[in-house]
Symmetry: C2
Subunit: 414 residues, 2 copies
């Protein structure tokens, strides 16, 4: 451990902390317990069908290419029959407006109610949008048939004359996702990825065997199309979800996962869809806890909320993108005093920070957890924030060799 940058007192503190760390088995005792609880609590996620809901509601799920092809072909068969019967044709598009969204507490997720709008071809108002819808149905049919994945931008460029503006093709794509009852990735239209993963994890990606224990320090780029990922296997006790690249690099280079059996993931800031899908798939397949390491500021919590709750405008797709049960390991506001983060490594919160923080206090996912409320209130009271890197003030490897082992040993997650 380097203590280069620290005073004599701080060096003594670090020494004391290091002495507290027991052998690996002891350190991992509480994490093991948490992992076991997780495996026992697999009361299989409840589905909409099991609930007796007043409204008939709609949700989107992952479907394989054949199922999407079936849906599209059934839709077009109806269209053809309607035309042959002399009625022209129209699509029934579920409304994605806020008024049509319903929060289901039993499932802890948002679904769509049954408001549907007609999109008829024989209407001067809807004609163009109906044509776009038909065209994109055809393109998605081609994608599923060929089993290839493209970006929204690629899709737009296949028929710029008709779509005119990418926002038009993007919006219709979301309509189709609701109409066909499947996720956007099931439509074979994917987001570009920016996440990386390293650690005790192997999987198959498009036929290739991927071993994340042997990915150097750069890690494996998280695949853009989750449907190509299978055979997930791991002897990890937990997933460490890291907000930032620099912390990921430190842990990867120190091979943190060798001593502490884990899978380390980062989306390098704001989570992208591919990383969220990947995290969710790991959690569901492996049933191990997810521990989060984020900056101690409102933005760090915002990032957690995207992983846990998703964003409002994709609410109908949220259950396929989110990982509701994430433990907040650190860096927590209470850590700043507990670990004696030097005053000059703490930053004053801006007015914007304080506003965001106060808004977060009103959010359900915070309110549901009193320990989170207490931490956030402490942050707002002290008006201080700190980055994960602030831990470097105790030496470059303090994060991997002292902070995280202590946190794990004490089961200090909330």
């Amino acid at each position: 451990m380097s203590k280069g940058g620290t005073s004599k007192r701080a060096a003594e503190d670090i020494n004391k902390q290091q002495k507290k760390i027991k052998n690996i088995d002891e350190v991992l005792k509480l994490v093991k317990k948490l992992a076991e609880q997780g495996r026992k609590n697999t009361t299989a996620e409840r589905s909409l069908a099991e609930l007796d809901l007043a409204h008939s509601v709609r949700e989107v799920v992952d479907k394989d290419a054949d199922a999407v092809l079936d849906e599209i072909e059934a839709t077009m068969l109806e269209v053809a029959q309607s035309i042959l019967a002399g009625n022209g044709y129209s699509f029934d598009i579920p409304s994605r407006a806020k008024g049509n969204q319903l929060y289901v507490p039993e499932l802890d997720r948002i679904v769509l109610k049954d408001t549907v709008s007609k999109r008829p071809f024989a209407s001067s108002q809807a004609c163009r949008k109906t044509a776009i819808t038909t065209r994109i149905l055809g393109l998605v049919h081609e994608l599923c048939n060929k089993q290839i994945n493209v970006t929204k931008r690629d899709l737009f460029y296949t028929d710029v004359k008709l779509f005119e503006d990418q926002r038009e093709s993007d919006a219709v794509l979301d309509d189709l996702s609701c109409m066909l009852g499947c996720t956007r990735s099931s439509l074979h239209v994917v987001a570009s990825e920016k996440g990386v993963v390293v650690g005790r994890l192997t999987f198959t990606e498009d036929g290739d065997h991927i071993d994340c224990r042997r990915m150097g320090v750069g890690g494996k780029a998280i695949p853009p199309n989750i449907s190509k990922v299978s055979n997930i296997a791991s002897d990890a006790l937990f997933i460490l979800l890291v907000e930032k690249d620099a912390a990921f690099m430190r842990l990867a280079e120190d091979r943190f996962y060798n001593d502490y059996p884990s899978i380390i993931i980062t989306a390098k800031g704001q989570p992208d869809v591919a990383t969220r899908l990947f995290l969710r798939k790991l959690k569901l397949s492996l049933k191990i806890p997810v521990l989060a390491l984020v900056d101690s500021d409102p933005y760090g919590l915002k990032i957690l909320s995207v992983y846990m709750k998703g964003s409002m405008n994709m609410s109908y797709d949220s259950s396929n993108l989110t990982t509701p049960d994430i433990k907040w390991l650190g860096v927590r506001p209470s850590d700043l005093d507990r670990f004696n983060i030097p005053a000059q490594c703490r930053l004053a919160m801006t007015d914007e920070d304080l506003k965001t923080g106060r808004k977060l206090l009103e959010e359900d996912f915070i309110k549901a957890n009193p320990a989170w409320v207490a931490e956030l209130e402490l942050m707002l009271k002290k008006k201080e924030k700190a980055e994960i890197q602030a831990l470097s003030s105790f030496g470059f490897q303090y994060l991997s060799q002292v902070y995280l082992p202590l946190k794990l040993q004490e089961g200090d997650w909330i």
Copy 2:
């Protein structure tokens, strides 16, 4: 091939193009020739020492950890001797100002002339900066000793009290790089990476064997620390440098490199230091041509200039970051008409675009190549730009199945 989005005439065009494509061996004939030329032309990059320069000049080179440790220890020995002799101490810091930069046409790169400024400890003006320099020398010594890599941000946080502002520690780090005559990555301070690679390439990264032929569609994240990369091996004929993520994804999913032996790299937009170092290392080790696929707009050329020339403010480090010999494969302004890119997929250049384009015409790396000048002049005359994705208007796989094979077969790079 999908021709879904195209008129009958366009479909005929695509058919004609497809028929032109011969068997793989024929397609690769010209690329093979180019690769052979490349291998013959290895008149070993000339070094500064071989040139008879009027000025005594200074350049920075990659050094291993032991060499950097030696440099630091020699520097500190001088410091100690100076103090013991009762003279206090000071550092000699090479100036990085524009007036101290010299373009050496024989080497086609910028080096630093011999202006050096004293940084004495016993000066009220320089004292703080000298303290910071000494401190960072100590920290870099620790990093090289432990063989670990950190980010600039980590470095800053090790002593916020002294550094106060990250710009201070960053600037001194650049000073040290010039003073010790080694690259920033030799100081074990690395940039965060965002590039990915896939294709016919194997290497060792921090002891792990990495096989980029088996990296699914997501690819391998390019490592932040190039010094951990060794044993580079490949049977590829060329490196395909791609500007954007979406095109990378298309080529990775289609396993373009199976039929056309290649290594595919992208930095997902603006090139980062890690990707530039990686490309350079591949080019030097494998001695195969680099073909670039960028948007047909001034920004695409700007990106090429960063790979080829580097950025001005790191000029002293440029020779370690750049890959001077890159061929511009596409999408070139002349391709728009040649491949009949539909009018609605072409975008009008903005005033800003035109300004950037005209400035580029003045740059040496453009002027050095008349074919590039002609293309850029055509762009400015037509006032049209186009993204790589515009090729999707002929079908999602047109890029990998028609456009690139035709380009390669015809040797259509400049």
